[in-house]
């Protein structure tokens, strides 16, 4: 089955060509149907054509607008009568026609290419470009595979669309400055780490983190680096920490339960003040949960997971392009503040394909090789450091005084030797905490999207940026006073939030996690704890799918209605 939504108004009647500027195409099917491939081709095509398309594989027909077109495989799907009244249905015998085109051996394979052909026809897409993309994807393997893919694509493209009510043509998008590159969030993170100078990583297979691990394993040898697939999650973070200690910030990562397993070592990195980058590609939890669904429920473990007081940095990229820069930023924060940095991304950003502005690699790529210059004397945890920041000395660095440091997880003195002194524990706790305060003071104040004052402020993080901004646009178009704020720095929080919040009557934190016992989600909980402001409330859901604009608007209205009935004590 395949479904499609158009933003162009449905006119009905006989076939005609409508000009549109954007389209939402949702593709649904079984796991072996290769539906991701269709999304990938379309996104790559759009990236080249300066049009924004995001892939999405949700199979919920409710996300379709009234009057939208449902293109379905009539061999397998019997549309429900009540749906047929709401949406325009178009049945094509996709399975049998694919088999007819590429032979019985193809079976289910090739259906996706047939559908791609259908979509290309319906939207009058650039066929030579698509053919080239198909060639890049399937070329090099068995020649018959490429031939089958192209045959199926052309069969779909040449399928008679006489009974289609409408076809569409995209108006030319605005030409953007610079080149565009098309990639997934996981790719952007992986390449970002390489640009940042990371040359060692360790991990364990788990969905959806594995892509990053595979990318680094493939690419790092070109730079003289290595990625090790370990026996488990604990070994992975330990090995990465070992490499960080050896002198160059390393990376580990995981998803879901794997993050739980890493928390002991994460606490060690805080205590030992070792730099490290940990990527958490969030998925549905708890436990094994929903491995291929999106959720933002790891904020608490990322910020607070572990025993004892263990302040660490947590960053959340907003989109695919941001993943690339967040990786570099994470590496530099880890180096400067000698602290583990968790990058909280999620399944939606990880697998989503977006077109991004090409970075100036010559400028952003950096060398972070260890500095082994001999020094006269050294204290690894110097309490008198003027900026409060210290850095460990990598092994191999000569210290002329002959006094060498120990890096440790025990509470320690300035040389890293164990201590039970209450005074030192206080001082070291303060040292580890204050460097995060210093970082917080250096962070930029986030920008409000929309007017800086009004009735409602929608606060979001991670992959919610897109739908929240769209919700703001639509609400404002309808005359509602709604703005939004996106938070990239989760821990520590950026400065100036209280000033921003004070300009609004209501602050709704939109996040993909449970509303919890007290009625608000994880970021909302953090903001309430930080600002003691009861007007901060949550808009939450955990159905494993990204927020739809409609859902945000509905919940915002519901909150406002409820507040009218019972005014908040702001």
């Amino acid at each position: 089955m395949s479904e499609a939504t158009m933003t162009a108004p449905a006119s009905g009647g006989r076939p005609k060509v409508s000009k549109i500027s954007e389209a939402v195409i949702r593709i649904a099917g079984n796991s072996q149907d290769g539906i991701q491939a269709i999304g990938g081709f379309l996104a790559r095509l759009a990236g080249r054509s300066e049009q924004e398309v995001m892939t999405s594989y949700e199979d919920h027909i409710k996300s379709l607008r009234k009057g939208g077109i449902v293109l379905f495989d009539s061999d397998h799907v019997q549309p429900k009568p009540e749906w047929q009244q709401e949406y325009r249905h178009l049945g094509v015998a996709i399975s049998s026609m694919t088999v007819e085109a590429i032979g019985g051996t193809g079976k289910d394979k090739g259906k996706n290419m047939f559908v791609l052909g259908l979509v290309a026809k319906m939207f009058d897409l650039n066929v030579p470009k698509l053919e080239k993309l198909i060639g890049e994807r399937f070329g090099g393997k068995d020649e018959s595979i490429l031939n089958n893919a192209l045959t199926a694509f052309h069969a779909g493209y040449s399928h008679s669309l006489d009974n289609v009510l409408e076809t569409f043509r995209f108006v030319e998008g605005q030409k953007r400055a610079g080149h565009q590159v098309v990639m997934t969030g996981n790719e952007a993170l992986g390449y970002g780490l390489i640009a940042a100078g990371v040359r060692f990583g360790a991990g364990y297979p788990i969905t959806p983190w594995s892509d990053i691990m595979e990318l680094l394993r493939r690419e790092l040898p070109k730079y003289g680096g290595t990625f090790v697939q370990c026996e488990d999650e604990i070994a992975s973070i330990s090995m990465a920490l070992g490499a960080s200690y050896a002198g160059r910030v390393a990376v580990t990562g995981s998803s879901g339960p794997g993050i739980s397993l890493k928390t002991e070592a994460l606490g060690y990195a805080v205590m030992a003040e070792l730099p490290l980058v940990v990527i958490d590609v969030q998925r549905g939890g708890p436990s094994t949960g929903m491995p291929t669904s999106v959720e933002q429920s790891d904020l608490n473990i990322a910020c607070f997971g572990g025993h004892g007081d263990s302040p660490r940095v947590v960053l959340a990229p907003a989109n695919v392009e941001d993943c690339f820069y967040t990786a570099i930023e994470a590496v530099n924060i880890a180096r400067k503040y000698s602290v583990p940095v968790v990058i909280l991304t999620d399944q939606a950003i990880a697998t989503r394909i977006e077109a991004c502005e090409e970075p100036n690699l010559e400028k952003v790529c950096q060398d972070i090789s260890p500095d082994l210059t001999p020094i006269a004397d050294f204290k690894p945890y110097d309490l008198s450091a003027s900026d409060g920041l210290t850095h460990h000395a990598p092994p191999g660095k000569r210290i002329a005084s002959g006094k060498y440091p120990v890096v440790t997880g025990l509470e320690h003195d300035e040389m890293g030797h164990p201590t039970g002194s209450p005074k030192l524990h206080l001082a070291m706790n303060a040292k580890r905490r204050n460097k995060l305060r210093k970082l917080a003071s250096e962070l930029p104040v986030p920008q409000v999207y929309g007017p800086p004052e009004g009735n409602v402020l929608l606060v979001g993080w991670g992959s919610n940026q897109g739908p929240i901004r769209e919700a703001v646009d639509r609400a404002r178009a309808a005359g509602d006073s709604v703005s939004s704020l996106h938070i990239r720095y989760i821990n520590p929080l950026p400065p100036g939030l209280e000033n921003i919040f004070s300009g609004f009557n209501r602050v709704f934190v939109v996040e993909l996690n449970d509303e919890g016992i007290y009625g608000y989600g994880q970021l909302a909980g953090l903001l309430r704890a930080r600002y003691c402001d009861a007007k901060i409330q949550g808009i939450n859901k955990t159905d494993g799918l990204t927020f739809k604009v409609k859902e945000i608007l509905e919940q915002t209205r519901a909150r406002l209605a409820a507040a009218k009935a019972q005014p908040a004590t702001a």
């Binding site: 364990y204 297979p205 788990i206 969905t207 594995s210 691990m213 595979e214 394993r217 493939r218 040898p221 990625f227 697939q229 026996e231 488990d232 999650e233 339960p257 436990s287 094994t288």
Partner: protein, 262 residues
């Protein structure tokens, strides 16, 4: 494969995989009471189940990544304790669920998503590892030889002590090296070659054999070591399985304790 487990268990044997402690199972006959646990931890859960109700037959199933990768330590410690359970590993020499990364049993040189240049690592060989690790029944089967596999399972289930059956269970999607076609001409049944499973040297030697001829069958078996639950004194005080004992302590014990604390 799951049918093979059903066939192998003698009728009337209570069976759990890894375990669910219900009165039903305790009294019951074979029915698929099973309990998926955490990645790599099934043996630890199964040991708990066995000690909680030592009258159960416990069967644990898993894969090579689960058993020898993330769960490798539990594998070793369950073996040395000789916990009376049957451990069936469906060994496909790859991480299949996460769509194809090397596993601890992947052969050297194998190209996967995490070894695009070919694996450089020496794989684990579960057979010698189990023999020296303290397992008392060590067998290997091949899912292409169903009848033989059932025999291995039967022997394992009837064995008192830790029984490992490592099953070559080719992953038809992600492992293009060790396929049914690859295994079929190579596997040779030990039982047909007069192998003596009481011979330690031969067991190890045959366990290491790999290449044109790969032995399957019972490599190693010893019946002279007691299993863990036979050694735990508290399980043999005549009060039956721990799971069904009365909770609480007798009045005289409670009184004595209160007296002591006062």
């Amino acid at each position: 494969m799951s049918t093979a487990v059903e066939t192998a268990a003698p009728p009337g044997t209570p069976t759990v995989r890894p375990a669910q402690l219900t009165k039903d199972t305790y009294k019951g006959k074979i029915h698929p009471d099973w309990c998926p646990t955490l990645h790599g931890r099934s043996l630890a859960v199964a040991t708990g189940a066995k000690l909680g109700n030592h009258e159960l037959k416990v069967i644990c199933t898993g894969g090579d990544g689960d058993g020898f990768g993330i769960g490798g330590n539990h594998f070793l410690h369950t073996m040395r304790r000789n916990v009376d359970l049957t451990y069936i590993v469906m060994d496909n020499q790859i991480y299949g669920l996460t769509t194809g990364q090397i596993s601890p049993t992947s052969v050297k040189g194998m190209k996967t998503k995490t070894t695009p240049h070919g694996s450089v690592e020496n794989p684990i060989n579960p057979i010698p590892m189990a023999i020296v690790g303290g397992a008392t029944y060590v067998a290997r089967a091949f899912s292409g030889k169903q009848k033989h596999m059932v025999e291995m399972f039967k022997g394992a289930i009837q064995h008192k002590g830790f029984a490992l059956v490592d099953v070559f269970s080719p992953c038809v999607t992600y492992n293009k090296d060790n396929t049914y076609q690859w295994f079929n001409p190579r596997v040779k049944i030990l039982e047909e070659q007069g192998h003596n499973p009481a011979d330690f040297n031969k067991a190890i030697e045959r366990g290491y054999q790999w290449g044109d001829e790969i032995p399957i069958g019972l490599f190693w078996k010893r019946a002279d070591l007691p299993s863990l639950e036979e050694l735990e004194p508290v399980l043999h005080d005549g009060n039956g399985p721990l799971a069904f004992r009365e909770l609480g302590i007798p009045k005289e014990q409670a009184d004595a304790l209160i007296k002591e604390l006062l």
